[in-house]
Amino acid sequence: MSLLEVDNLHVQFPTRSGVFDAVRGVSFSLGQERLGIVGESGSGKSLTGRAVLRLIRPPGKVTADRITLEGKDLLTLSERQMRKVRGQQISMVMQDPKFSLNPVMRVGEQIVEAYTQHTRASRREAKAKAIDMLEAVSIRDSERVYRAYPHEMSGGMGQRIMIAMMLIPNPKILIADEPTSALDVSVQTQVLSIMDRLVQERGMGLVFISHDLNLVSAFCDRVLIMYGGRVVETCRADQLYNATHPYTRGLLNSLPRLDSPVERLQVLQREDAWMDSDQTSAGTGSA
């Protein structure tokens, strides 16, 4: 059974020059797998992630035929009930740890807070759990990090702390919005393998939002490619290099590659038809 079902999701923002459709009819389902969402900036990939958690503020408007978490309708929940879903059942890791950790609170307290918000654990229990969690994300000096402030941490360390914080309430789904794009390549792989291990151990569903095609094809099981607020193609991640949609092909060809040098890179030629044509599928989706 799938964990999350999204059917015909729309996100709209009213502007002075009419309504802007940021996400236009996105549908997908997520099981215990790693689902990648790729696209350029402005393709609506991050908004899709946020809309699932109902984090879009007015005047932005979210409509969908269906958003269900294990059969439970998320669209009809009250704001109070929704707060129980966020963190506890679906949590989200944002792009830059510098902006998503509280700068005036010690790291440990922030993790403890995330835990005690959702459980009735005592402080002592919560602290033990937080230290365990810090060790689970491969932080060696967990006692010291527990007492440190976020500014004393490097980017990779900060992102691991974010992951620890998001996984401590044991959610069923993790939405990771460009979790590694603020990090160096060498740290990137470390953080990804930690996330990969934890998601696998806990049998969670992962939505991995990224603009990096190489990364997504190596890291995910299935990929949605978004353009102009729509999913233009869905394919198995290992089949991404055989993708058929001209947009996906264009993106892949515009990447410089170390192993195959070219004199000039191919430039993406955009077509208006991509905005409304129906999606194609390459490979057989395993959903």
Partner: protein, 268 residues
């Protein structure tokens, strides 16, 4: 390969050197006493005129600091810096900035939000005492593939890629022979990155420019540069030609590590 570049013929009237940039034992530090941080330690490399050289390494390794010391944005440095055969002191003359210009990482931050494209370019041109500024602005915009219709736009009316083109046009305005590129595409989408990289390739051919580029993306550096220096903790650990990098032939473990991680995520 190395000799081929070193034997680059120089145009008549140029100073008696084949090197555009010579860096000899450069050290850069910040702070003093107990707070002193050595950002670059004893770095040395040369760029033949017309070549393209890349600096890679993780953040904090000192690669951007080398560019900032060259442009004179950092004063606390020691060692030998030569540009087109002239020794550089602490102060840089206007003449220096006619030879060397820099393009910064974030096109959203490097353009004045309340100056139109026309103002940005004409100001640079008039500072360098050029005449017929009007024609030159149009020429610059055409050179970077924008066209004169962008002339009176403000930065907020441009996309990231268009802004980076304006930043490149501004750098080209004093007609320099050397461009320093500090992560010129890392704030851009891959499709736009391809456009900017192609533009840089074309400009280099047309104007016979020398590039010194900093990036953390090995594929981007490999695409644009012939030689690559790998930096770690302020030290250049290895300089290698791009062919060797493509074949993953590197002697230093840190370079190997960097190459492995840039090839992508591998599941254990």
């Amino acid at each position: 390969m190395n000799e081929a570049i070193a034997g680059y013929a120089n145009g008549a009237g140029a100073p008696a050197t084949d090197f555009a940039i010579e860096i000899d034992g450069l050290s850069v530090w910040f702070g003093q006493g107990r707070d002193r941080v050595d950002a670059v330690k004893n770095a040395s490399f040369d760029l033949p005129a017309g070549s393209s050289f890349g600096l890679v390494g993780e953040s904090g390794s000192g690669k951007s600091t080398i560019l900032r010391a060259l442009t004179g944005l950092v004063k606390t440095w020691d060692g030998g810096l030569r540009v087109n055969g002239h020794d550089l002191g602490r102060k840089r003359s206007k003449d220096f900035y006619k030879q060397l210009q820099m393009v910064f990482q974030d096109p959203y931050a490097s353009l004045h939000p309340r100056h139109s494209v026309d103002q940005v370019l004409s100001e640079t041109l008039s500072l360098h005492k050029f005449n017929n500024i009007n024609d030159r602005v149009e020429k610059l915009l055409t050179d970077v593939g924008l066209g004169p219709q962008f002339r009176f736009r403000y930065p907020h009316q441009l996309s990231g890629g268009q802004r980076q083109r304006v930043a490149i046009a501004r750098a080209l305005a004093p007609e320099p022979s050397i461009l320093l590129l500090d992560e010129p595409t890392s704030a851009l989408d891959v499709s736009v990155q391809a456009e900017i990289l192609n533009l840089l390739t074309d400009l280099r051919q047309e104007k016979n420019l020398t590039y010194l580029m900093v990036s953390h993306n090995l594929a981007v550096v490999g695409h644009l540069c012939e030689h690559i220096a790998v930096m770690q903790n302020g030290v250049i650990v290895e300089v290698l030609p791009v062919e060797e990098m493509r074949q993953l032939k590197s002697s230093h473990p840190y370079t190997q590590n960097l190459l492995q991680s840039s090839l992508g995520f591998v599941r254990q």
